[in-house]
Symmetry: C2
Subunit: 257 residues, 2 copies
């Protein structure tokens, strides 16, 4: 049974791409067969794994419009063994093109049916919006959504809106959609703000916040410039440890179900 | 002559809202009459100035759909004397509703005509996407776009896409649109990464990067929880100084034209 998670939060810069890449790498490190899907027009996950978004043969844009199959675009990051369905900038136009298409919210879910069983985990990196691209990811997410939450005041603001969108999708598009968990990111132990935000999120979402907390760590922001996940770039850094512990917590939770 | 700037960058979390609020506050501090327009469905600028996005009478959503005038929603932040056209979550639906409307890209620009001359500066805070909301802001921006660039590798990635969108808007919608300047944000003097990113951006955009550099400063991320711009919250902080210097540089450049 393939486990599909959407990594989503419409607040920008909270660590969605960083979490998707590094969680994928440590799930693979633990022996899982992992596919990362990039549906953000910025294509950050694609380039942070060392691929050139402007030269990929086909992308998730073609997948959503039905002009290509997953097999036509499947890439593999050798060192981490994470497979990838890349994005490219053409995705910026997908929103307007999808609006009037049949079954516009199900296009990602249906297009994955032919390859899903090759993988144990599929992680979908979302853009910073609640647009049709993110709705497609939430509809395809068989096991729920993982929400990165930056340890900042402004990041708290948007959680209610995200929750409302998740409820709408659960009602109309994907009955099984639930919050798999919230992961606190860019935690800075030197500031009160980080501690306050973690406490506040734990109070609002009891039992849903992962124990693993991702610290602010410069290695995490350097790794993309080398085209590597943190598990390859600096496996002994605090940032790497955070994601390794998160991957173990997620596997443990999934296996006990 | 009212000067209208869009504050835009589709990369998330780079400091668009923080720059819009604090630049607005220091322009007002310098004696300018300033209007801040929030067109982000997250409504971060609205709440960071202490207003409740869920209870505002009318918002920029109503403005874009033509069901309200600016006068119906105009608010004022007392302490900083910055006026505001607030956003609210309904904006998340504007994209789909605008797609089939007449003159959909000009709706913000036309709706401002009745109030523009009351202000010396109008700053528009954009969402993290190149959607119709951001296109509306770029079309209304009479004097150009200010681009916050976070001192991170992933933030470099998206500048080309943004430049292409600016060129498209200049060709089809707003002949006067240009890059007014790039402002480097969250600069951390302790890391090589920050220095490298600043150098790289200066090389790619010669003469367009503001001399003022905004340091990473915890006070800037605390201020929104008090509903205050940095000029009111901690005017002596390094973050406040960064935006004060930026405002002076922008005024000086505008006056010498
Ligand atoms: N724990 C961390 N410590 C330090 N830097 C981090 C950490 N997590 C992410 N970053 C950096 O912060 C920036 C934002 O992270 P990232 O791009 O992953 O967020 P995002 O939510 O995917 O952004 P977007 O909304 O644009 O898609 C990036 O430059 C990234 O390298
Ligand atoms: N110079 C700075 N130093 C420290 N923190 C900062 C600085 N600038 C912004 N921040 C914090 O970083 C986070 C991202 O900034 P902000 O929300 O302004 O970016 P944005 O580009 O508007 O994000 P979005 O793409 O979601 O609209 C916020 O929590 C903000 O408080
Ligand atoms: Mg991202
Ligand atoms: Mg913002």
């Amino acid at each position: 049974m393939t486990i599909i998670y959407a990594i989503a939060n419409q607040k920008g810069g909270v660590g969605k791409t960083t979490s998707t890449i590094n969680l994928a790498a440590y799930l693979a490190d633990a022996g899982m067969r992992v596919l990362l899907i990039d549906i953000d027009p910025q294509s950050n996950a694609t380039s942070a794994l060392g691929f050139n978004k402007n030269t990929v043969e086909a992308s998730t844009y073609d997948l959503l419009l039905g002009t290509a199959q997953p097999q036509d675009m499947l890439l593999c990051h050798e060192e981490s063994e994470v497979s990838l369905l890349p994005a490219n900038p053409a995705l910026a136009g997908a929103e307007v093109e999808l609006v009037n298409m049949m079954a516009r919210e199900y296009r990602l879910k249906t297009s994955l049916e032919s390859i899903a069983e090759q993988f144990d985990y599929i992680l979908i990196d979302c853009p910073p919006s609640l647009s049709l691209l993110t709705i497609n990811a939430l509809t395809a997410a068989s096991h729920g959504v993982i929400i990165p939450v930056q340890c900042e005041y402004l990041a708290l603001e948007g959680l209610t809106q995200l929750q409302q969108t998740i409820q709408m999708v659960r009602q109309h598009l994907n009955r099984r959609l639930r919050i798999r968990g919230l992961v606190m990111t860019m935690y800075d132990a030197r500031t009160n703000l980080s501690r306050q935000v973690v406490q506040e999120v734990r109070e609002h979402y009891p039992g849903l916040v992962f124990r693993a907390i991702i610290p602010r760590n410069i290695r995490l922001s350097e790794a993309p410039s080398y085209g590597q996940p943190i598990s390859v770039y600096t496996p002994n850094s605090a940032g790497a440890l955070g994601y390794k512990v998160l991957a173990a917590e997620i596997i443990q939770g999934d296996m006990s179900k």
